[in-house]
Subunit: 145 residues, 2 copies
DNA sequence: GCTCCGTTGAAAATGAATTTCAATTTAATC
DNA sequence: GATTAAATTGAAATTCATTTTCAACGGAGC
């Protein structure tokens, strides 16, 4: 199962860095994987509080940072002022469609676009490391309301 | 001249909104147009202070907000934690190449990419309003160092 | 000039992200 | 299981950019 694999990955990372495995870290990873993507620190914190009211915001924040350091999560900004974290499968990449009305986020990937990006970068003398593509608009549901 | 046109545009906008034309607003627009794009509030504020030491940060901030309301400037985030404003020619659009080493920002546009974006959005039921495409990498200069 | 009302600038407030620090917990070692 | 060194936790404080407040000021119509 994917989640179990990710959990092991995380433990390995902690071990390798001389960091410790704690009940909070396990709980946060568990909930992060369960909750689905694009959560803000605040949102994850509130969800966690329901299960473990004594957990601290700082711990959630630090643990999410750990996740992104070890490649389990990626930090993103979609323009509402909060950072959001999404679980990332290794070696995969996708971009986002964001509904400006309801906030829905849809993931997509398109190799043709990626190819053109490389082309453009190359002709400007750049070697691309990463990119960000976000399409903002109105989703089907919101348009038919 | 383009700058003069933009200045008139701004005055018209102020008039239309029942807002006032002030020496600060003129000065800020002047310097904004002179300074070239992708400035943060802080950077523009510091430049302005050299010419008019009594100008306030809040005024610069509010005026930049005005610019983006009336279509003279666009607000962007490139991931360094500060908003940046760029002068925008009407009906034009471009994307950005950002060097992760030296911070250089290069603008580009590619209709082929735009077309594919529309395609993707459409097939997901979205009507695009705007998009953001940023390519992060290493520029020629930084790679040859 | 007078008056109304928008603007300014300094300071305070906000909001998210991050850091501090004393108390606690982990995990390696005895 | 006890000891110990080092990492972690959570509450509170801090930081940093952004935004708002408010009293003094200034623009524009009368």
């Amino acid at each position: 199962m994917l989640k179990a694999k990710t959990k092991n990955e995380f433990k390995d990372y902690l071990l390798a860095q001389g960091l410790k495995s704690t009940s909070q870290r396990e709980l946060i990873l568990e909930e992060f994987l369960r909750a689905g993507s694009h959560l803000s620190t605040e949102e994850l914190y509130l969800r966690l509080r329901k299960k473990q009211p004594r957990i601290g915001y700082a711990t959630v924040h630090r643990t999410l940072k750990l996740f992104s350091e070890c490649g389990i999560a990626e930090r993103r900004h979609f323009g509402d002022g909060q950072a959001r974290y999404e679980a990332c499968a290794r070696d995969e990449h996708h971009d986002h469609l964001i509904c400006v009305d309801c906030g829905k986020i849809v993931e997509f990937e398109d190799p043709r676009i990626e190819k053109l990006q490389d082309e453009v970068a190359c002709s400007n003398g750049f070697a691309i490391e990463r990119h960000r593509l976000e399409l903002y608009g109105h989703c089907q549901d919101c348009r038919s309301k």
